[in-house]
């Protein structure tokens, strides 16, 4: 392991350098880069709660390999019935949206079947979801820029009505009115620089903005006439979404593993995981996430005859995940997690086995492509000086879908 470690570090350094090089040489264009809140979530967050599908190949180099599939039942239902996205169904199936289910097939070093695992996970608190955040909705509603925009729209409509009512209402007058409506729509909803809009329309906007004293819009169109209202709205919404990125995510779960020759549980785990950002998030800025895991593991006591779940081990793993983001697109591409692990054996202690154990863990996650992550886990036992390494690959189905469709980063 000591020989392999420098190779891994060199490989990581190369990937990180290459990734930075790509980012600097090819800045993504605003038009082609469409990033969802889901794609901006950290890899660690996605491991805690999958929003769609996740495939994982765990412990690739170890003796007990695992092929893992995690999903969300609502996402599966949505694939078959897109109408479930409508708000009344979205609310109705809220519990299903918060649920993850998964199963995995264990393989030994010769790739032979070595047991089946399944599990469920439920998010008790998810304050990071921008589609359900009451805080985000309240902040959007009280946004001063939106208030000014609504006032401006009202004034522009009134102006158009007055002009049309004063006209002879001929077909030409109606066409003029229709063109004016289109100009309002472009002004509010299309990312066209303000100084590229029709000069006559801009003159009307300028006079209303001054008359109504719409300070924020006036500042935007006077100071940055090459920007648009739409791009400003997008910036505001993205910044509000960023503000909830550090909020709390807490899940509880239950998982089990069967014997390879019989459908009986050889292992049962009740677990809880919590993640919370430490600093106020800013777009493209690196951040630290607090990650705390606790689990109670019921497994077979081999000193007793028959198949049982009498050995009980409690574990507690507090850690910090350092999320390094690409400044151009706010996506995390490298994450370093350091954690400690404390294990306490309540029942079924073997001869010479310590009741309490402490480990130091570190996980390095690299986003190799869209939603495909390569996490490398390293465990260190300070009591015995042993180092264990686990090499995994985790892929989100949306990432694979994009890969197959040929949509690049």
């Amino acid at each position: 392991m000591k020989k392999i470690l420098p190779k891994y570090i060199c490989m990581l350094a190369f990937i990180v350098t290459a990734k930075q090089g790509i980012s600097q040489d090819n800045p993504p264009s605003a038009a082609s880069a469409i990033f969802t809140a889901d794609s901006l979530a950290s890899g660690n967050t996605k491991d805690i709660l999958t929003s769609f599908f996740q495939l994982a190949f765990q412990n690739l180099t170890g003796k007990r390999k695992e092929f893992n599939f995690n999903s969300n039942p609502f996402a599966v239902m949505l694939k078959n019935n897109p109408k479930l996205n409508i708000d009344k169904y979205y609310t109705k199936y809220q519990a299903l949206r918060k649920l993850n289910f998964g199963f995995s097939i264990g393989l030994d070093s010769s790739y032979h079947f070595n047991g089946f695992s399944s599990g469920i996970k439920y998010s008790i608190i998810d304050q990071r979801d921008p589609t359900t955040s009451k805080l985000l909705f309240t902040r959007l509603k009280i946004d001063g820029f939106a208030d000014e925009r609504a006032k401006l729209n009202k004034a522009l409509v009134q102006h158009a009505k007055d002009e049309y009512n004063a006209s002879a209402k001929t077909d030409a007058d109606f066409q003029h009115l229709s063109n004016f409506r289109d100009s309002i729509a472009i002004f509010f909803n299309i990312d066209v620089p303000y100084n590229k809009l029709n000069a006559g329309f801009r003159k009307i906007v300028d006079s209303i903005v001054k008359e109504e004293d719409l300070k924020q819009i006036r500042q935007l169109i006077e100071n940055t006439p090459a920007s648009s209202l739409k791009s400003n709205d997008t910036k505001i919404f993205d910044s509000l979404k960023n503000s909830i990125k550090k909020n709390l995510l807490w899940t509880i779960g239950l998982s089990d593993t069967t014997y390879k020759d019989q459908f009986l549980f050889s292992n049962l785990v009740i677990n809880s995981e919590l993640s919370k950002g430490i600093f106020e998030p800013k777009a493209g800025a690196n951040n630290l996430e607090l990650n705390i895991k606790a689990a109670c593991n019921f497994l077979k006591d081999t000193l007793q005859t028959g198949r049982n779940l009498k050995k009980v081990i409690f574990s507690f793993e507090p850690g910090v995940n350092w999320v390094i983001r690409d400044k151009n697109n706010d996506k995390s591409y490298l994450e370093l997690k350091l954690s400690g692990a404390y294990y306490h054996n309540f029942n079924g202690l073997y001869l010479g086995e310590d009741r309490d154990k402490i480990f130091m863990n570190s996980t390095i996650r690299i986003r190799v492509y869209e939603d495909i992550w390569v996490p490398l886990e390293i465990k260190y036992d300070p009591a015995n000086g042993n180092v264990f390494g686990l090499f995994n690959v985790k892929a989100n189905f949306t990432g694979l879908g994009k890969l197959l469709k040929g949509i690049s980063l």
């Binding site: 609310t91 009451k134 909705f137 959007l140 925009r149 729209n153 109606f174 289109d182 309002i184 709205d233």
Partner: protein, 152 residues
């Protein structure tokens, strides 16, 4: 317009809702317009042969009543919980607000009238209108939004 050129339909004691009146109006207009076209053709042929007075083009609408329309806006919010969206539609100082996917009805609309849309949603929003307007469908991404329907 001369009284002999009007078509009046007596509905007797039947009371109609706005929707029923609109539907009946539309059906009558289609049928009558078709008949008028054939009558015009016949008249033109006759006037060509006889060389007498020029026929005036038929005008659209039920004579005697102001030409107003009733519009139904279908609003759909997606990828969002009910209550985490808000949309206000305004026509002639009459505002109607919804906080979940629903329909909004305005009556008394005429050519050149505008319905203002002002909304906020954590999800995507689609609004469609069932009468001739510019545009007939609006789509918005999550966030705050504004637009207007112009009735044709």
């Amino acid at each position: 317009m001369a009284k002999k050129n009007q078509l009046v339909i007596d509905l007797g004691k039947i009371k109609l809702t706005d929707e029923q009146r609109k539907s009946l109006h539309s059906a009558l207009h289609k049928t009558v317009a078709k008949e008028i076209k054939s009558v015009e053709k016949t008249n033109k042929k006759q006037s060509k042969t006889s060389g007498t007075e020029k026929a005036k083009p038929a005008t659209r609408g039920v004579v005697g009543a102001p030409v107003t329309k009733t519009a139904t806006l279908e609003v759909t919010f997606t990828k969002v919980n009910t209550g985490d969206s808000e949309l206000t539609a305004t026509f002639n100082s009459q505002s109607k607000k919804i906080t979940s996917s629903d329909s909004i009805i305005f009556s008394g609309l005429g050519k050149g009238d505008m319905i203002e849309i002002d909304g906020t949603s954590l999800g995507s929003t689609t609004i469609s209108i069932d009468i001739s307007a510019n545009p007939t469908v609006m789509n918005f991404t999550p966030g705050n939004f504004n637009d207007n329907f112009l009735i044709k």
